[in-house]
Symmetry: C2
């Protein structure tokens, strides 16, 4: 989440994946893909499977688990596709096991899915899926998750149909930075947290500034600067790169603004001749939703 790189994230209501889980006589984990992405079905190579395997290390289960996955969040979009898979799988399995694990346990298990996807155990995408709302990962070792109440916010997300590999987006980051830039960044994250907790939209807007990561990563995303500028002119509070890109998100106080931003994004990418999907949605406040 912009200045909250690696520590602040939020969940959205759209797009989302659908999953169902049941016990089965076949031991171990069976994964059935109901979409066309062709993701691996070997649990050790599948993000949802890796999360479930970590969970099963802590529970003595005689039966097997059969997980059906229908993904609508495109892998590699920057919208947290791997987190959705990993979090969804363990939340569903936990319900089958009568909710024996805490939310924090579930985050711990699901991080194994993120490790498979990106090589690094990180929780800033997982935790929002499981807790809902905006979450802060104050510390990853030991895991310290803080749920932050957020006011109503509309989110416009554009996903240009290009591929940015998470590993590439990580490798171009500078490992050494200037103290003065870091101070500006932590002034902004402090302002963002205060703005969220005080429902101060103007403060949220002023604080949505990333002086460290965005200037480096945004060069991988065509039209980024234009989209950001025109979104702000249309009334966006602010926004930035979603995950490691290439998706871009913008936050708004009003739904009408979020829709006006959709038009701006559409117009920029149409002019560039870039295929794209746009979502106009809200922050998901409850985490993964059960049906039936």
């Amino acid at each position: 989440m912009v200045c909250g790189f690696d520590v602040l994230g939020f969940a959205v209501n759209d797009p989302y994946d659908k999953m169902s889980i049941c016990f089965t006589d076949k031991p171990g984990i069976t994964i059935i893909n109901e979409d066309a992405y062709g993701l691996p079905t070997d649990p050790e190579k599948n993000v949802a499977g890796a999360a479930l395997l970590a969970m099963l290390e802590e529970v003595d289960l005689e039966q097997g688990l059969e997980l059906r996955i229908c993904k609508y969040i495109k892998p590699g979009s920057g919208v947290g596709s791997s987190a959705a898979s990993a979090a969804g799988a363990v939340v569903a399995a936990n319900r089958l096991l009568n909710d024996r694990f805490s939310k924090e346990d579930l985050v711990r298990f699901a991080m194994n899915g993120e490790k498979l996807a990106s090589g690094v155990k990180h929780a800033d995408n997982i935790a929002p899926c499981i807790y809902g709302g905006v979450t802060l990962i104050r510390s990853i070792f030991p895991l310290d998750i803080v749920q932050l109440a957020a006011p109503e916010l509309y989110v416009t997300i554009v996903h240009p149909q290009i591929e940015v590999r998470t590993a590439d987006a990580r490798s171009i980051l500078k490992q050494g930075i200037l103290l003065k830039d870091a101070i500006r960044q932590w002034g902004n994250i402090a302002g963002l947290v205060a703005g969220l907790l005080k429902s101060d939209y103007e403060l949220i807007g002023r604080s949505l500034e990333d002086v460290l990561i965005e200037p480096v990563r945004s060069i991988l995303i065509p039209g980024f600067d234009t989209i950001k500028q025109r979104s702000k002119e249309a009334g966006a509070l602010g926004g930035g790169i979603s995950g490691s890109g290439p998706s871009i998100f913008m936050l708004s106080k009003e739904e009408a603004t979020a829709k006006a931003i959709e038009q701006e994004m559409h117009s920029v990418y149409e002019k560039l001749g870039l295929e794209h999907h746009i979502y106009v949605t809200t922050i998901n406040q409850t985490g993964i939703i059960f049906t039936n």
Copy 2:
């Protein structure tokens, strides 16, 4: 304020300086020191004077101002002595001028005092004196001050009688840092702001960690590690270097804890044979207080 280096600060109720101001027929600014510190009385060389001079550039005053200062906050202690002088002077003068300036204006004027004292215009000590409570300087140019409601907190401050020049404390800081350390720091400042606004004392405690500045600066302060460790054992939520040192502060939820910490600090410095002053106080929630 620990992980909030350069952006988060708070005011305490003790120690404090006393000042009085009145109009005088003598044009310009007259400074009268009522203490024994021998600070300059030339307004251009006096921190309070520099702040007043900045203010007078924006007001057409026929009379002069006479400021009497009695300092109890020792200059160079790290407890924000220069901020107290600069902030006190402009707040007092503003009352004489029927409060024509906003709090933000007053911070802007008082920053000229900090510039005289340390060479840099900074507001993280000034703003708490003027606003009270815990304040965030999200941005210095343009100035963006956010007041953060804080729960009741006791503060134990020890001032070992050694001199650490602000310029020295600044010069030993590394200008280049690692991104991973900065991420840990901004996770902590986000946690601290959330802890303050949610009155979550445990979160405040976990977040009071500075992985960047304290490890470097604390080497200038004898007994620092021992004092910190023993304060935490005595129940402190956490704490660190006050300003640029040499004072050390610790925060507690209960007054009894704050007093137990006082004993620990006293015992450490007595053993080291170091003269010291200790204050057990609370966060000042209102800013500068008027009497008479």
